[in-house]
Symmetry: C2
Subunit: 281 residues, 2 copies
């Protein structure tokens, strides 16, 4: 559905609306020697849908703007955009195409934040004592990139890097179960969790971080682009039940929120000490 007008016309919505935008830049967010233009297109949609997932919302529609060199293979790019659009039921209703010396694909998504239960989940609601969970093991995308760089062409880790998944159902389940704060792992567990901690004014003690088979702990802590969701809750059991009822894999407990707003430890050691340089320092 490409509306071909100045703006797309969409039906009204009673509940809260969500609006987000992210750009994916060739050579910055995707190495086109390793992944295809279709993968870049997929990713541009996926990162935006993931932003809606991290609020516990669902997509209504997207607009896609492509700025790039005239010889860009737009058909291949749009193949990936369309595939992701269909994957998450997020129709592309408009956008723009223009010349630029760098390839920048910008997607903006309108999301539906309605639904039963609490409002969309923001970053600042984590409270001292809340349990911290993640929707899946981490490090797949970074490990997949490493494998691509060493010549691999397939396998689940490579696929995780080329075609990341947005966790829409998990976001909705976490919100319905009373998540107090939520974010998606785009920059890396430590960096993204820190956004929650800063916005909420709490610290954290992590007991363990689940690492995807084939990835290193460093990739799980700092690799980013896994798009698993991190959320906090006072009722981790209730969250587990909600995920089970929704037919989703159980979320994994990784730690707890503490009162010391500066603190962030993994298994008792400061995260600096495990080799991770905090990007916010």
């Amino acid at each position: 559905v490409w509306i071909g007008d100045d703006a797309a016309v969409l039906g009204g919505r009673r509940g809260p609306l969500l609006l987000a935008a992210d750009a994916v830049v060739a050579g910055v967010h995707a190495d086109l020697d390793l992944v295809g233009l279709d993968d870049l297109g997929w990713k541009a949609v996926a990162v935006n849908v993931s932003d809606l997932a991290a609020m516990g919302g669902r997509p209504i529609a997207a607009v896609v703007t492509v700025a790039g060199p005239p010889d860009t293979d737009l058909e291949l790019l749009y193949d990936g955009i369309v595939a992701a659009s269909e994957r998450w039921g997020c129709p592309v209703v408009g956008g723009d195409l223009t010349t630029a010396s760098a390839l920048v694909v910008t997607v903006a998504v309108l999301g539906d934040g309605s639904g039963e239960g609490p409002p969309p989940v923001q970053r600042g609601g984590a409270r001292v004592g809340d349990t911290i969970l993640v929707t899946g093991a981490l490090g797949a995308s970074a490990a997949g990139l490493r494998l691509l760089q060493s010549g691999a062409t397939g396998g689940p880790l490579v696929l995780a890097h080329r075609r990341p998944e947005a966790r829409l159902d998990e976001g909705v389940a976490a919100r319905a179960a009373g998540a107090t704060a939520m974010i998606d792992v785009s920059d890396g567990l430590v960096a993204d969790l820190n956004h929650v901690l800063v916005a909420s004014g709490v610290g954290c003690r992590l007991a363990a971080v689940p690492v995807v088979e084939g990835a290193t702990e460093e990739e799980a802590l700092g690799g980013g682009e896994d798009y698993e969701l991190i959320f906090t809750t006072r009722d981790p059991g209730g969250a587990g039940s909600a995920f089970a009822r929704a037919g989703l894999p159980a979320p994994l407990v990784i730690g707890r929120c503490t009162a010391d707003a500066g603190e962030c430890t993994l298994d008792g050691a400061s995260l600096d000490a495990v080799g991770w340089e905090h990007p916010w320092r």
Copy 2:
């Protein structure tokens, strides 16, 4: 209002919603030797608000994505973005900032298409016999660019190029008065009018095109970026009255829609013959 979360949360709306996005690229849409980064920021917002104006809608919120070189003067850029955001009551509620070798500023706007009377005005509704009007004289932006290139630094034409205006009130008035089709002049009168003609399956005979003082007829026909609105209606008198009631300058009749879908003439001569090369051929 920058929400600083994965997505901005906005209130629900009963009426139709509008969604649009456009990118402005340094060196393509703005020559930074002639205009400031603040002008580029203003323009990125203005072109999007103008897309809403061309539907007869009003802005609810915008998200702004900046991809650019690390040495970009973001403060200056945002000055212009904020000024335009305030000019049209279109709060910037989120976005993204990333590195790229070219400066690409992408804005997506969510608009309110509700309101009394007919639904948002699209491009395809012009009918044979409809009168074609424009909300103001054309050519100011192209003339302003020409003056800047020859060393001018101020004056109304230069201002029209640096800080184009979106015609929100005019769009609302035209819609309320029963405009059958509407578009904004971004690429040039002939090019944009043609979008309406093609979508509506009609032709046009233009009697005269109003040229801004200091601009040439060629600048008025092909210059673009004036962001005046072109609209069609069966009741030009009613449109004039509606504009007068709203305290707006009277829209100017420029011609009429004809049954010959291939036809586009100005004062009896094919527009090819007045020196304008149709961009769609």
